[in-house]
Symmetry: C2
Subunit: 229 residues, 2 copies
DNA sequence: GTTCGTTGTTCCGACATAGATACAACGACT
DNA sequence: AGTCGTTGTATCTATGTCGGAACAACGAAC
């Protein structure tokens, strides 16, 4: 999980976070609540109380048994495994959200149809999903995830315009950060902040991208979010 | 913010969450820490202590003044406004993450290049971003956001294959949930869980989608995440 | 029967969080 | 000078969180 962001699953007043996940994982690994607590440098007392709280909200998580060849023990339920998988996916998503450069563009809502709105920005008109607060003339911030942006050569760009399901900005490559398999491309599209696209190295090579080139960036309306400021 | 998910910004040991955002907003609106605390049904004492903690981690957030025509008052700094905007965007992203149906497909890593890997799934081979834990033969869960999926008529589908920057699954429409401007399309692509795509109503109409139709779903490699299980 | 190592349960103390209270200080206004 | 309504500061109490300690209970192994 990214150091600057923290996510938790919530059920009623109870939340499930990193420490809880660590506890469940330590139990799965050691087969004992006592050993898990000890490994995590926490009290068994607290671990038991915490499990009680979590189980009241999320269902049975740990099956505990006393006596037997190993003195007793504990193991995770399927519910616990599901919960951990859910938490992992949330973390990956939030981590992706935090890490994926996100371009924020100021704009004004000019039209609204259900959950979609047209937003006028310095780079042109954008279609985006909006929350219930956004009405015509609302000032909004449009967030465009770098991993949602597809790059095209100007000649190959998909048809655009206000009626298209796909937004498109024409821009100039101002930066290229090429890694092993993934590259970050920075574009000047006329907005205060540059638009960043996270694409594969193959896309960069296929398009023969270099600083100074003209490209068209496209991104889905339903992957574009506008929040009121 | 979605009821099942909670997100916070973190700096060191200090986190900034919903309650903190509410406090800053109430201060901005009333122009006073006392009034804000009162409105939120909290103690002024606590509000002040909390502000102190937040400011130690995030920088100066509130400018306070005593005396004057209104007896004194407080206003937010630019830093506070930036922090709130950042928090709002995180919430919108997390909310989008939680709300956007996300299809999870089991798979096995067959090849890895830097941050990208090939994953064999029941629907075919997928390219996805992976975390550092994922090695060849690792079992992974591939998450595909509904808002990252583009639908195409079979004839118009982009070129596919293991070398393409774009993943593609061929499937059959099994469900259509059409709203005012946004639609959710469910596809049987051969995996245990159906693939869900969040698209505009216009896309549905342009493709003349109906249950039983064959379509091709495509989604970017860099927008596809695989987490180890 | 005894030992072992876990769980089940209860109780206690330390520290953190949160609210309540009170007085001093400030600057505009009367 | 007095009033107003905020802030600055300090102190106190109640509740929640967390860790620690202790004993009983369990079932396999010896």
């Amino acid at each position: 999980m990214d150091a600057g962001v923290e996510a938790r699953l919530r059920a009623g007043d109870v939340t499930f976070g990193v420490d809880d996940a660590a506890l469940l994982r330590a139990i799965a690994e050691s087969g004992s609540v006592s050993a898990a607590a000890s490994e995590l440098g926490r009290s068994r007392s607290r671990a038991l109380t915490r499990l009680e709280t979590l189980e009241s909200a999320f269902g049975s998580l740990v099956e505990r048994r006393r006596g037997g060849s190993d003195g007793g023990g504990s193991r995770l339920t399927d519910t616990a495994h599901d919960l951990l998988a859910r938490f992992d996916r949330l973390c990956a998503a939030v981590s992706g959200t935090a890490q994926a450069s996100e371009t924020v563009v100021e704009g004004t809502v000019t039209e609204r149809t259900g959950e979609l709105a047209l937003v006028e920005t310095a780079a042109g008109t954008v279609r985006a999903l909006v929350d219930e607060n956004a009405a015509v003339d609302s000032a909004v911030q449009v967030s465009i995830r770098a991993d949602a942006v597809t790059l095209h050569a100007p000649d190959d760009a998909p048809a655009g315009g206000a009626t298209s399901a796909r937004n498109r900005f024409r821009g100039t490559v101002t930066g290229l950060d090429v890694g092993t398999a993934v590259a970050s491309v920075t574009l000047d599209v006329g907005t205060a902040s540059p638009l960043v696209a996270l694409v594969t190295v193959e896309s960069v090579e296929r398009l023969a991208l270099a600083v100074g080139d003209e490209v068209v960036a496209s991104f889905k309306a339903t992957a574009t979010r506008a929040t009121t400021v």
